[in-house]
């Protein structure tokens, strides 16, 4: 590496020349900062442990000490007891599987539709300009509010109610992904496209070899948002559909059976969301392995 060695040699030359002339070599160790104290090195870990302990203790004993009644907010141990009860007597696993299925299908369909629409609009600026007011309006509209309409469409069978939950999820997942993909395709460096054109690339090659891979970071930040929204969409769809399966059913049952069941269902929904989010992150790491770590999730950086 002629370039590198040349640069390095020059740096070394200046680095060794200056201190020798300015100060005796003995003074040099003082320039090295001392190692951080125990407290500075581990302060994040220490604070995390303290906050976690306060959180658990406060929830378990603080609430009761403050006189918050059980039907208002249950303690952690009450939720634990409820978990065992729901597991043994209420078929918690079955409900969890149903809801997880809806989340997965809703997320996958919403993501595919969002990507398809994003790429199509990204590649045809005229269509995007013409359609942008409608897209904006739909983006602002509260998508979950369409749930009653879907109930109307599908009817009242179990499958119909699952479809309602899935469709609400599709609708909420669709937009962030479409908008991210669209923006990314639009932001592709025109010079890169020109470079491909000088190699006589076809429109299709430009899409597959430049626009599509260039959109990956933005697509993944859309998918991350989508993975959490899918859980919200499914939950609303189940609640509105009045389903008798799924975690939404447990939530509704909680209205009569007490706060612990509500908290338990929320907890499981949260776990489903976290798992989905982590799955997206793992996929992102393997697809975007070429990027410097700090750029993760920032579109087009």
């Amino acid at each position: 590496m002629a370039t590198i060695s040349m640069g390095k040699a020059m740096n070394d030359a200046t680095a060794s020349a200056v201190p020798a002339a300015a100060a005796p070599p003995r003074a040099e160790p003082a320039l090295v900062p001392p190692p951080p104290s125990f407290w500075r090195a581990y302060r994040v870990a220490i604070w995390s442990a303290v906050v976690l302990a306060l959180f658990v203790l406060g929830w378990e004993w603080g609430l009761r000490a403050l006189g918050v009644p059980k039907y208002f907010i249950p303690t952690l141990s009450e939720i634990g007891v409820e978990f065992l009860r729901a597991y043994e007597r209420m078929d918690l696993v079955h409900h969890t599987v149903i809801t997880t299925f809806e989340v997965l299908v809703g997320f996958a369909l919403g993501a595919l539709l969002g990507m398809a629409m994003g790429y199509v609009l990204g590649m045809s600026p005229t269509a995007e300009k013409v359609l942008s007011p409608y897209i904006l309006a739909l983006q602002i509209a509260p998508k979950v509010a369409f749930a009653p309409l879907f109930v109307l469409w599908f009817g009242f069978s179990v499958e119909a109610k699952m479809s309602v939950a899935i469709l609400v999820a599709v609708l909420v997942v669709f937009f962030p992904i479409m908008v991210n993909v669209l923006g990314a395709v639009r932001a592709v460096d025109p010079a890169m496209i020109n470079l491909a054109r000088t190699f006589s690339a076809t429109r299709w090659q430009i899409f597959w070899k430049i626009e599509f891979p260039a959109s990956m970071p933005a697509l993944f930040s859309g998918l991350r948002i989508g993975s959490t929204l899918a859980v919200i969409g499914v939950t609303v769809g189940e609640l509105v559909g009045g389903i008798n399966r799924g975690l939404g059913f447990l939530l509704l049952s909680g209205e009569t059976q007490g706060a612990p069941l509500v908290f338990l269902a929320i907890l499981v929904l949260t776990v489903i969301g976290i798992v989905a989010y982590c799955a997206v992150i793992l996929a992102e790491r393997s697809v975007l392995h070429y990027m410097p770590r700090r750029d993760f999730g920032k579109p087009n950086s």
């Binding site: 590496m1 002629a2 370039t3 590198i4 040349m6 640069g7 020059m10 460096d189 010079a191 890169m192 020109n194 470079l195 491909a196 054109r197 000088t198 190699f199 006589s200 690339a201 090659q205 070899k209 430049i210 891979p213 260039a214 990956m216 975007l288 070429y290 990027m291 410097p292």
Partner: protein, 262 residues
């Protein structure tokens, strides 16, 4: 044999908005570049140098006049020319090897074949160890060398370069100029090099064309007539350098209360 020819080429751009004014970037440009010749083009910024290159590469069509490469009129992108710009434009999601094979891949060159070509070039440009690295892991000079390899991998008849080294630091630049000059000389490539670095123009070219302010016309042609076209480091040190630079400076109106970026 004439490799690249601009035949009374004029390029005007339509106004950006209705009622705005159009721009004539270049007017009546006549240039002939012979086989194996390296021609440098200098001129004030905004005078239409890049426009000229876009016409040669087929990215854009002239308003009047015609452009020929290897005797055939340029009507669109074609495999006779290859482009190298100031920015390396490496694709961040491709390894260095896959970046170098990019052009051949588009032209459906067989995989084993294009990899072989790319590896050879990368070895030659001292990037042999970095084939599996990604662009962000390389320094600016190394990235630009990869871009040079990508350009040469197309085995073009004419190499078009638009200020290819202007973003590099002075030492890196000299090393890359050396690599480029040697390749052009050894492979007997024809090159059309835009630069704003007068020393670079003299060190690398057989001939220097000087363009006027917009609308750009070729106002002067200077034959460099120095030995060592394959060794710019040696050429840089020649005594004739000073007077050639002075001549170019006066042509470009530098040092007369006016400057290059006018």
């Amino acid at each position: 044999m004439i490799r690249l020819q601009f035949d009374r080429v004029t390029k005007s751009f339509a106004p950006q908005r209705r009622g705005g004014e159009g721009v004539t970037a270049i007017a009546d440009v006549d240039v002939r570049v012979e086989d194996g010749e390296v021609v440098a083009l200098i001129g004030p910024s905004g005078c239409g140098k890049s426009t000229l290159l876009n016409l040669a590469s087929g990215l854009d069509r002239p308003t009047r006049g015609r452009v020929f490469v290897d005797g055939a009129e340029v009507t669109g992108p074609n495999s006779h020319v290859a482009f190298m710009l100031q920015r390396d434009l490496l694709l961040p999601w491709r390894s260095i090897l896959d970046n170098v094979t990019f052009g051949q891949e588009i032209q459906h060159v067989e995989k084993a074949r294009r990899r072989e070509v790319a590896r050879k070039l990368l070895d030659k440009y001292h990037l042999g160890e970095f084939v599996d690295h990604y662009p962000h892991q390389l320094s600016g000079g190394m990235r630009q060398r990869a871009a040079l390899a990508r350009t040469m991998a197309m085995d073009p008849d004419v190499v078009l370069m638009d200020e290819p080294f202007s973003a590099l630091d002075a030492q890196t630049k000299m090393v890359l100029q050396q690599d480029l000059a040697r390749t052009l000389f050894e492979e007997k490539k024809t090159a059309f090099l835009i630069t704003h670095d007068l020393v670079e123009a003299i060190a690398l070219a057989d001939r220097i064309l000087v363009m006027s302010r917009r609308p750009g016309r070729i106002v002067r042609e200077i034959r460099v007539d120095l030995p060592d076209r394959d060794n710019p480091m040696v050429r840089r040190q020649r005594n004739e350098m000073g007077s050639l630079i002075a001549e170019l400076m006066s042509l470009l109106d530098i040092g007369h209360g006016d400057h290059l970026d006018g």
